[in-house]
Symmetry: C2
Subunit: 397 residues, 2 copies
């Protein structure tokens, strides 16, 4: 069953733009702030600048920059798949999530014009919900045994406590973090710098399949797109923006993980680093950002949860059930009004999507997400392919 | 040759007080702020409160506290050695340094009434000069191989750059720090919690002898005094106050090193900690004080020098010759006026003490210390048992 039949004209245009432009292109970001995606796409196809208002492209220099960008995007036009082909890409668990979709993570909007045009997803987890309780954990590809061990242990502890681990799917620390989360039965999100159907590194094809089954594999690049050096750096801003905070486990002085760290700091998200032996070059970058007070020194999952929960966001508090403490969960009578409404909004049989439930319950999206998290954590409901469904049998046990 | 003949009445009284009272006794500290030591000693011997002014002991509660203290100090009177015996203690390299002596380190006065009554020294280095460029390095007795290795390496690097390592002479990190400094030909100061003639731990008798030969072994307790649990904690404030900054290399959550760390922080001296594997309990205390931003994360000698040199003190700048960069030292004509005066004040043959040189040169003590450091670093002069002497032959080479 494909998602494409349901893709709007604007979503199809955003999908097409992921084929034509590299993510983070400032000209396209600026255009999408003022024009509809379909209008921008039509302008590229017609080799004409879209009708733009004052403040963008109305100076000679701005106009020249836009003309250069247009030329850049048109180069890929001959290879742009048609709508039917884009439809064909959305199958086998691959789907598209666009800004303002219920599943779009609000944190990405903090990137401003640099936010992704759209995200390609492989897997069934709800991206917005997963990111609401997520931490990115990144580090050196050439990790030491110590670093890989510590990343795996901390990721597993976070996973057990219901926190989602976001990382880049690379060798070393990234892989150890993903694997730790998976081993604990947690959700993990792999953010690739290539198509979600393109296993890079190839040795991680199995890991990505597991992540998609238990979480998500996501990318700003369309299916089929190859990785490239610069793409990893552009991708890093997304890892930082998706999550509540970033943890660096091992990073040499020139590690790409420090690029992700910089993005987290620029976004005002908590930046944390795990120390290690001062005799290992792999910890030098961690120690430097701790010494310069750019990062907080963390040594275990509790330290990290304390940092990312300090934001005063009710989401975190409400969505932090004690690990496996289902026995202590509230009874139906003890639910707050919103959660009771949301629970009532779920169909007696089958499942419903988040926005359907929100409409049925008559509560806003943030509230419905908070309540769904609470209800899932308390064992009332569970996620499935088609959204959320009641989880009656287990609740009794 | 004994120092005692030269001990003033007040110095002899201070020596006696180190026999009668435990260091850090608040009643004795308060008395010594307003009375001469000999007056206090006479009052103890006569079992009468000394004539005290307003603000101390003039309230009934203050008076009762003083009476209790008097009882406490008189208990040890039967065991107080006579002046001749105290004179006998000052031999074989053992000597006494009192507040306001040229060799008294000014940093101790930051302790206020809690400063030592006097210090017993074993070894020939100039205490004040050594402390002017010193760092304390303390840590767990149950150090890991990693911790001992790192403490030794950093201490050796600091020693090579002319920094003095101060520590407590214990097993583990303390011993590794002392040994690192000694191996690099540097000066090290052992601050004991017992008499300077009492090797505790016994296994460190050889280490203490080396430290005395190449630096100093010092104590607030008189010769012959045994160590005791509480004495280690009282001793720690002295380690912190003697030095420009304190480095913790390994410390479990309840390590005594964290007590020294607290004193350093209270004194406003830079507090630093070396990270380690988060899997080792011995680094947990270091990581905690770094995480709570009480301590700066340091990984090498350069980090430490940067921290303790950031005080804007001309002493540090003037006394930091590049290690072994004698070739680049100034010629006699290039010396500043004060340094030239101090150099001229040294006897053509034999040696002179710091205060003699100051008097001869007609410059104040801080200036003479700065100049002596500069001249020694530049190869003009060198330390010897009896003070400073010209170092003509080497200067040519």
């Amino acid at each position: 069953m494909s998602q494409t039949a349901r893709l709007s004209e604007q979503a199809l245009a955003r999908a097409a733009l992921t084929y034509l432009a590299e993510p983070g292109d400032p000209a396209l970001g600026a255009l999408l702030e003022i024009c509809e995606p379909a209008e921008v796409l039509a302008a590229i196809k017609a080799d004409m600048l879209p009708g733009i208002g004052p403040g963008c492209g109305d100076s000679p220099a701005g106009r020249r920059a836009l003309e250069r960008a247009l030329g850049r995007w048109r180069i890929r036009l001959p290879h742009l798949p048609g709508d039917a082909q884009i439809a064909a890409a959305c199958r086998d668990g691959v789907r598209l999530v666009c800004p303002a979709d219920p599943e779009w993570p609000g944190g990405l909007d903090d990137l401003g014009p640099a936010r992704p045009y759209a995200l390609w997803l492989r897997g069934h987890a709800d991206l917005r919900l997963a990111c609401a309780r997520s931490v990115s954990m990144v580090g050196s590809r050439a990790a030491t045994g110590y670093g890989a061990h510590v990343a795996g242990e901390i990721a597993a502890d976070l996973g057990e406590r219901g926190w989602v681990i976001v990382s880049g799917g690379a060798y070393g620390i990234d892989a150890a973090a993903h694997r730790g989360a998976l081993a604990a039965g947690g959700v993990t999100i792999v953010v690739l710098a290539c198509g979600v159907d393109y296993p890079y590194p190839a040795g991680h094809a199995g890991l990505f399949a597991e992540a998609a089954a238990q979480g998500l594999v996501i990318s700003e690049w369309p299916p089929g797109r190859h990785p490239a050096r610069l793409r990893f750096l552009i991708r890093n801003r997304t890892i930082a923006a998706l999550t509540r905070g970033t943890v660096i486990v091992e990073a040499g002085e020139r590690s790409g993980a420090l690029n992700t760290a910089r993005h987290a700091a620029q976004l005002g998200r908590p930046l944390m680093a795990v120390p290690g032996p001062v005799t290992a070059a792999q910890s030098a970058g961690c120690h430097r950002i701790i010494r310069e007070w750019a990062a907080t020194c963390v040594t275990r999952a509790e330290d990290i949860i304390e940092m990312v929960s300090a934001l005063g966001d009710p989401l975190t508090a409400a969505m932090t059930p004690e690990p496996r403490a289902v026995g202590g969960a509230p009874s139906r009578d003890e639910l707050d009004t919103d959660s009771a409404r949301v629970l009532d909004a779920l169909p007696a049989r089958g499942a419903a999507g988040t926005s359907t439930i929100a409409a049925e319950a008559g509560v806003d999206l943030d509230t419905v997400l908070r309540c769904l998290g609470l209800l899932a954590g308390s064992g009332f409901i569970e996620r499935c392919d088609r959204g959320w469904r009641l989880r009656k049998p287990q609740r009794a046990g």
